[in-house]
């Protein structure tokens, strides 16, 4: 296990890049949740918007990540700092699963429950916060989970524009034709993705049980 020795010898840098990676993924996911969940709620209640919004999110998803990073590079404020740019790009990719699952989750609430709630005199916001969101929460979380797993993978590419993260090792290893260095980036990234998947999955299950 050559690469294990490499990681041990460079554990400081591995840790640093892992934290950087987490930062990129964490902030971009947070951003995507803050935008995506409200957006998903809006398109549930304004059905006219649902198609354009979901189609746009879909299209963003199809843009190759390296190209998206490249496109955003010349944008004034964004291009100034590569981590800023990487976070925005990652958030854009995370949008689709979050918006879509929010939409699906809320649309999946039993119509009889909504009718009863409305008939009992719940206001729209009471209906949203006490009924629709709690009932949709596990579906929304499974969207967040997908978004995080995608982001952990994509964030490695952010190193190409100098945003840091575990991709640094991967690109460096590619340039050096040194598998140990590539693995030093790839394996922690894989572990991060697995851990996030399990963690959010656990949360999802706990919330669904109620």
């Amino acid at each position: 296990m050559n690469f294990a020795r490499f990681i041990l010898q460079n554990h400081g840098q591995v840790l640093e890049l892992t934290l950087e990676h987490l930062w990129l993924v964490g902030i971009s996911t947070l951003l995507a949740v803050l935008v995506g969940v409200p957006l998903g709620i809006v398109i549930c209640h304004r059905p006219g918007f649902s198609k354009p919004v979901l189609v746009s999110a879909n299209i963003i998803q199809t843009i190759p990540s390296l190209a998206l990073f490249g496109f955003l590079l010349p944008v004034p404020w964004l291009g100034a700092r590569s981590d800023r740019l990487a976070i925005l790009a990652l958030a854009l990719y995370a949008l689709l699963p979050i918006v879509r699952n929010t939409y699906t989750g809320i649309r999946g609430v039993d119509p009889a429950v909504l009718e009863a709630g409305r008939g009992m005199g719940l206001t729209d916001s009471q209906l949203l916060f006490q009924v629709e969101l709690p009932l949709a929460v596990s579906v929304i979380l499974s969207g967040v989970r997908v978004a995080i797993v995608i982001s952990v993978g994509l964030a490695t590419i952010a190193a190409a524009i100098g945003a840091g993260g575990l991709g640094e090792f991967i690109f460096r290893g590619l340039a050096m034709v040194d598998n140990r260095v590539i693995l030093a980036g790839a394996i922690p990234a894989a572990i991060l993705a697995l851990a996030a998947d399990l963690g959010v999955g656990w949360l999802e299950k706990r919330l669904r049980a109620q």
């Binding site: 039993d110 429950v113 009718e115 009863a116 409305r118 008939g119 009992m120 005199g121 006490q130 009932l135």
Partner: protein, 263 residues
Amino acid sequence: MLGGHMPAEATTPVIEFRDVFYRIEQVQILSGLNLQVEQGEILVLLGRSGSGKTTTLKLVNRLVTPTSGEIRVHGVPNGEVDVIRLRRAIGYVIQDVGLFPHFTVERNIGLVPRIEGWSEVRIRARVQELLEMVRITGDLASRYPRELSGGQRQRVGVARALAADPGILLMDEPFGALDPLTRDELQQEFLSLQQRLHKTVIFVTHDLREALCLGSRIALMEAGRLVTVLSPREFLESADPWAAAYVRAFGDALTSRGNRSKS
């Protein structure tokens, strides 16, 4: 206002439909509905699927807004009052019950009192009272709806509708999905409950037996029109072709039942 009972003169009906028409796009759902519901009666809306019964019911709590005409509740056109206040003063029970699956029985029943800002102590006392009223034992209070039988769920649905002590109850085939024995049981319990509570009830059903058993009066609907309003006894003897058709359709099953029905 809506909340309490108005010391209304006996002449003011609790609910009144005046020349109500309702149309979705080109389809006429209700045509020229005129109907009055008096304090303390159970008015049954009887008719086949698509006859407009459910729409009529939903007009009262404004889940449906009429194309023309008005609905008065306690003498006030219901379009002129705040819709949330209107609905909280009217109990609503539907066939699919619509209990909140993520709330316990207790929280389901206490929801309207809670959002009305009652104190916890008062809510708890009220929930206990209601559970006894609908004969749900206390140990079920902390269960979730999925852990209850169909009959129990519907009892909880009734309790929830009664929680804030509304003067009016709207019931849309509440016992329609239950097995015959449970249905019978719930009908009888509902009757004895009503003898104590004297709510003003509109009850939708397509089951003539249920209509005869529960109704003070039966309003027969067909294709968006009110055909006739009769007492159960009158209904059985009616010469009206639609009423007669209904009686024929239910056939012999009725005779024993009809004689027992209260006058």
